[in-house]
Amino acid sequence: MAPPTSPSEARPLAVGRRAGTGDDAAGLGRARAAAFVAPALVLVAVFLVFPAVWTLYLGATDYRLTGIAASDPKFVGADNYRDVLGDGGFHHSLWLTLQFVLGSAVVGQTVLGFAIAWVMRDRTGPLRRLVEGLVLLAWILPSSVIAFLWIALLDRDDGTLNALLGTPGTAWLLDHPMACIVVFNVWRGTAFSMMLYGAALGNVPPSHLETARLAGASTWQTLRDAVFPRVRGHVLTSLLLVSLWTFNDFTPFLITAGGPDRRSEVLSVYVYRTALGDGRLGFGAAVALVMILVNLVIALLYLRALRGRKEAAA
């Protein structure tokens, strides 16, 4: 339940393929096999599946963190869902989330990641290691450390950015909170796209690129005609994955906490504030259900794209 968990892109799921040998080489037997699977299933059932199902019920109650409704929550049916869908704060947050996902993941990380992978494709040596190392560092460092680094970078009085640009006193996080977390997330997550497209570009036959070069094709034409058809499957699946992760990312909370004045309150932060900040657990659960549904749509598309890619490869 920690950060979004998803299987690796390079070794995707075994669903749809004949899994293993299935002939029980060690003579385990079905009963013992079931006993082996049981502990994992119990943990997943209690701490992953049950909370999700419970969200459905909680969203239909007036459960609160404190007060009367905390000890004796009432069933209120679809009221919360109606409230959520009619809530201006929710619409606002949904709109910000859309900007966040489209701006930072779909456009930012994908374009920058691809561009870096493209430029570095046939380079070796220290420059490539330096670039890749820095991009990866941004990705692997703990989020609370990264968050402070960005707060320091964008600080109004002594921030490095203001010192560099010669714009002392510009309060980036107060004046442009959304732009800040979008740029931040591009910085944070580009590594995944870079590595994925790096691997995908390795699958483009060098002869195709050579032919394009000899034919005098421009970079753009080469990308469009020789490269893109080869990496299309990767683009689709990685777009869905980074969208899913960005949609569920809680790191904006560490930088702006949704502020100022809720101007950077993406859905993950909105759920936190309504449910645990304001104590409206029922309402928060209703918002959470909306999030789960969005996740479900993205995940189903992802699994379908993955299967399509496998069939295309077979």
Partner: protein, 275 residues
């Protein structure tokens, strides 16, 4: 002539792009590199007047080292539980035809990607509350394990599928019992897979902020991610000597793990070490 101009422009464009990328990614990290060793650490990144005094400030803080210990406890506990449960499940699912196996795997994968920490924080909080797991490290370990297990089972099952069954068959011919085969034949063969999952789990838990932030109340139990956050959000002027050294110490294990993994496996498993 035209060709040379175009080639020159291309090179200039390329160099500009690479420098911009380098600048963009290095800029926020500069502070982390310099401030810990600066005698007067400020918010602005600047070349330090070298000192190690800041690390003494770190040692004197009652929460700093304790929180790193808590992070180790959470990461090690979760990794042990995830590896043990995932290994058993993955092996059984890989080798034995259990009815409904493919559906089960598909559902696990789907659920683990749609039920994320942010989407499930409300019920997880209430669940922990009702099970008296609030302010308990074991509670955090259990919740994190539940979330990480499906992906871990997948990684390991894939790995087990790729290992030959001939060793197991041979051992069986020589009269080894199933459990002996598991311990002495299967475990050594899938050890690299187990190590991968362990490293992956530790990296996930080490950086996780949301679950311990939600479920732990007592600052004595909080891991480094949460303590780091309180250092710069709670109370007055942030102590930059403390924050900078703590950030560095807290980040180092992840970097070391990454170097270890990339050296050992060439960082082939995308999305592996994180997420």
């Amino acid at each position: 002539m035209n060709e040379t101009v175009r080639e020159a422009l291309r090179r200039i464009g390329l160099a500009t792009f690479v420098s911009a990328v380098l600048g963009f990614f290095a800029l926020p990290l500069l502070w982390l590199a310099f401030a810990p060793f600066d005698a007067n650490p400020g918010i602005t990144a600047s070349l330090p007047e070298f000192t190690l005094h800041n690390f003494k400030v770190l040692m004197d803080n009652p929460y700093a080292l304790a929180s790193l210990r808590n992070s180790v406890l959470l990461a090690a506990g979760t990794a042990a539980l995830v590896v043990a449960c995932a290994a058993l499940a993955a092996y059984a699912l890989s080798r034995v035809r259990i009815p409904g196996r493919d559906v089960l795997l598909y559902l696990l994968l789907l659920l683990s990607s749609i039920i994320t920490g942010t989407a499930a924080m409300v019920p997880v909080f209430l669940l922990a509350f009702n099970l008296h797991l609030i302010d308990s490290r074991a509670g955090v370990v259990l919740v994190l394990t539940g979330g990480l297990l499906p992906a871990a089972i997948f990684l390991l099952k894939d790995f087990t599928d790729g290992t030959p069954v001939s060793y197991e068959e041979a051992a069986r011919v020589f009269g080894a019992s199933p459990l002996q085969i598991l311990r002495h034949v299967v475990a050594p063969v899938i050890r690299p897979g187990l190590a991968t999952v362990a490293v992956w789990t530790v990296a996930q838990v080490w950086g996780d902020f949301l679950m311990p932030f939600l479920l732990l109340r007592n600052p004595d139990k909080a891991p480094a991610s949460v303590i780091m956050y309180t250092f710069y959000t709670e109370g007055g002027q942030p102590d930059l000597a403390l924050i900078s050294t703590f950030s560095l110490l807290y980040s180092l294990p992840v970097v070391v793990m990454y170097l270890f993994v990339s050296r050992r496996y060439g960082f082939r498993f995308h999305g592996g070490i994180k997420r």
